[in-house]
């Protein structure tokens, strides 16, 4: 259950049985033709995969460097790559005979994905969400309820994502017999990071084939944003044996030299969070720090353990992009290509735009556009003061 030294199962004894059970189910069903067929079919017929690869013609012309291609995860049902994983885990929960799922959510995107698959496959769903986030994300709360899920307010700690995760784990511990814990990213104890990666690798598998059909070679550079890191791992993984450079982009918030950022790999240190040994943001004593990013999806103090491994092995390079740089990239892509990206994805775009300028016209960059920006319009209106230009 490790990626090099990272990962593991740093969880209370009460959870160990459930993890063993999950691991056994995974070993069984990930080799089961019928299960894999169902998963592929639902990705196709429910979520709308394959998602397209879009050539960003005007952006490429504007930057006058490498050709930029976008893998359009924003076109998945519910608006982001999150559903790939939620479908996989929910189908697995059904096969395991679980009747209920529990999930944590920050901005509500994974909560909506979880509520969506719960409705589609007939599972009861409880979503833990920090009280502050409930306040800030009233629309997503309503969507989850409309989908039939129960949203449980979390009043402990900082009342945000990490506390919602703690609370979801606590609930799971108490209800482990009939309840499946549907984690939203490549984090948590083994086998979660591996399982979520295997459900998200469809992004990279599709992109690899689409890109090759289009350019007859592999991309020179692949860029994805990293919060927990599921869209990035999903994108990078099938390319790891290729020559393509991979770049993970963290949120630098107001700057990595300020206390307000979420740049875990850039500024964090080794520790344990949510069951996994990995890099994280903490103080000297080991108390986990509240991260900051304008993007709710990157605003996580840990990171998937496989990213820690890929950083150490130097197969993937990790950089960071500030709020302001991400907002500029968001505006630019909107106005040049008619695609409003999620603020998360805008971090990857900002880095890709920087690099494209420095590359030549025969080179290519593949960016994972992990989600759509509709969810962020409220935030943007506040930040930009109602002025879009």
């Amino acid at each position: 259950g490790r990626f090099g030294r990272y990962g593991g199962k740093f969880v209370p004894e009460t959870v160990m049985h459930a993890l063993e059970e999950l691991e056994a189910a995974l070993n069984k069903f990930m080799a089961d033709e019928a299960f894999l067929h169902d998963f592929q079919e639902e990705l196709r017929e429910f979520s709308g995969r394959p998602t397209p690869l879009t050539f960003a013609k005007k952006m490429t012309e504007r930057l006058n460097g490498a050709k930029i291609y976008l893998k359009r995860e924003d076109l998945n049902h519910t608006g982001a790559h999150k559903l790939n994983n939620a479908i996989g885990q929910a189908l697995l929960a059904k096969r395991m005979g679980k009747e209920k799922i529990v999930a944590e959510t920050g901005a509500g995107q994974h909560g909506v994905a979880a509520a969506t698959v719960a409705a589609r496959y007939g599972l009861e769903c409880k979503v833990f969400m920090g009280e502050e986030d409930i306040e800030r994300q009233a629309l997503n709360v309503f969507r989850m309820k409309l989908l039939g899920a129960e949203v449980v307010p979390v009043k402990s700690g900082s009342k945000t994502l990490k506390d919602a995760t703690n609370e979801a784990i606590r609930y799971w511990v108490s209800n482990v017999e009939d309840t499946f814990y549907l984690i939203g990213s490549v984090v948590g104890p083994h086998p979660y990071p591996k399982m979520v990666r295997d459900f998200q690798r469809v992004i990279g598998d599709e992109a690899r084939e689409q890109f090759f059909n289009r350019e007859n070679k592999m991309p020179d550079c692949i860029v994805a944003c990293v919060g927990g890191g599921s869209n990035a791992i999903g994108t990078f993984y099938p390319f790891l044996d290729d020559e393509s450079a991979c770049v993970g982009v963290e949120a630098a918030g107001k700057g990595i030299d300020t206390p307000q950022h979420a740049a875990t790999l850039t500024k964090g240190s080794l520790g344990v969070i949510h069951g996994s040994l990995t890099y994280l943001l903490q103080d000297e004593a080991g108390q986990i720090q509240e991260p900051y990013s304008i993007s709710a999806g990157l605003d996580y103090p840990g990171i998937g353990p496989e990213h820690s491994y890929l950083k150490d092995s130097k197969r993937v390079e990790y950089v960071s992009i500030t709020d302001d740089e991400a907002l500029d990239a968001l505006t630019l892509l909107s106005q040049e290509e008619g695609i409003i990206p999620a603020i998360e994805s805008a971090h990857a775009l900002a880095e890709a735009f920087k690099r494209a300028k420095e590359m030549n016209k025969h080179e290519t960059i593949l960016v994972c556009l992990s989600g759509r920006g509709d969810k962020d319009v409220h935030t943007l209106m506040k930040t930009m003061g109602g002025e879009a230009h």
Binding site: H17, N166, G286
Partner: protein, 296 residues
């Protein structure tokens, strides 16, 4: 290690395989007993002095081991009561290091019984294991419990503990498989922390039966006294459990009293009285043990 003879109390033993001297306190105050009272208190809640005095008071009221909790930002094995205690304590900048150092102060105040440091793994990792053991030795700490370090992840720490003569307290739960149970219980040192899921979601009467069956199984395999934790808050529960295990761990119920006396514990003039009142609660809770002792 000796295999436990079933049905007979006070028959445990821990071999001192060249470990440090701290296991002596376990020998003296824990081994062989079946009426263990193991209170959990939060270091620095609401301040260091109160914690020190409370530890001594609890010893006076019959505690066999002090489980000293280290406040953590993300205590995912804990319920809301202990989370809030941690929040209160973190406001005083309590750390793992300051907490270990306060054990020495407890000793100076007359604390004789073993002290277990209850800490999440990340705090230990950041302090550094070598430094932790040096501090533990210097400050007369007897053991460590890491709630998010299951048996499989604990190999390295277990080896260090054995070398250093510290007890590494293991946990087992009703969901622990038979195979793991044998392994964990068979390697238990100090005492074995047995999680009844009772306390996590409130007392469920229909669950009781399986708890007793579970405890019977645990006792069969355990190389150390078996103490039950999670949700023990009433004398009636102690009474009901006393035949089936060797002791109880009392956390939230005690912490609640600390919380309700917070103001008095902060004020040096009222602290002593508040601590006595918490002591009274502890004594009342564990009365069933003394009743038995008297009637024996």
């Amino acid at each position: 290690m000796f295999v436990r003879e079933r049905g007979q109390g006070r028959s445990y033993t821990n071999e001192d395989n060249g470990r440090g001297s701290t296991l002596k306190r376990f020998k003296k105050y824990v081994e062989g007993r079946n009426d263990l009272f193991i209170p959990f208190i939060m270091s620095g809640d609401p301040n260091e002095q109160a914690t020190i005095e409370l530890a001594v008071e609890l010893q006076d009221r019959g505690a066999n081991v002090i489980e000293l909790g280290i406040p953590y930002s993300d205590p995912l094995a804990d319920g809301p009561v202990i989370q809030e205690a941690a929040s209160r304590s973190l406001k005083n900048n309590t750390t793992l290091e300051s907490s270990i150092k306060s054990v020495k102060k407890m000793r100076e105040k007359g604390l004789k019984i073993p002290v277990i440091i209850f800490t999440y793994y990340n705090l230990l990792l950041q302090l550094g294991e070598d430094y932790f053991f040096a501090l533990a030795r210097e400050n007369e700490v007897d053991g460590i419990l890491v709630p998010d370090l299951p048996y499989e992840e604990g190999e390295h720490l277990r080896a260090l503990c054995e070398k250093e003569g510290l007890a590494l307290i293991s946990l087992v739960a009703p969901t622990t498989s038979e195979e793991r149970l044998q392994q964990i219980a068979g390697n238990a040192s100090g005492f074995l922390y047995c999680v009844s899921s009772l306390g996590v979601t409130g007392v469920r009467s229909e669950f009781h039966a399986s708890v007793f069956a579970f405890l019977e199984k645990v006792k069969k395999y355990s190389s150390a006294p078996v103490a039950v934790g999670f949700g023990v808050s009433k004398a009636e529960q102690v009474e009901a459990l006393k035949e089936s295990c060797d002791g109880v761990i009392v956390g939230s119920a005690l912490i609640k009293r600390v919380a309700s006396h917070e103001a008095d514990l902060q004020d040096p003039k009222t602290r002593e009285k508040a601590i006595k009142q918490i002591g009274d609660f502890a004594a009342a809770l564990t009365a069933p043990y003394r009743t038995e002792k008297l009637s024996t």
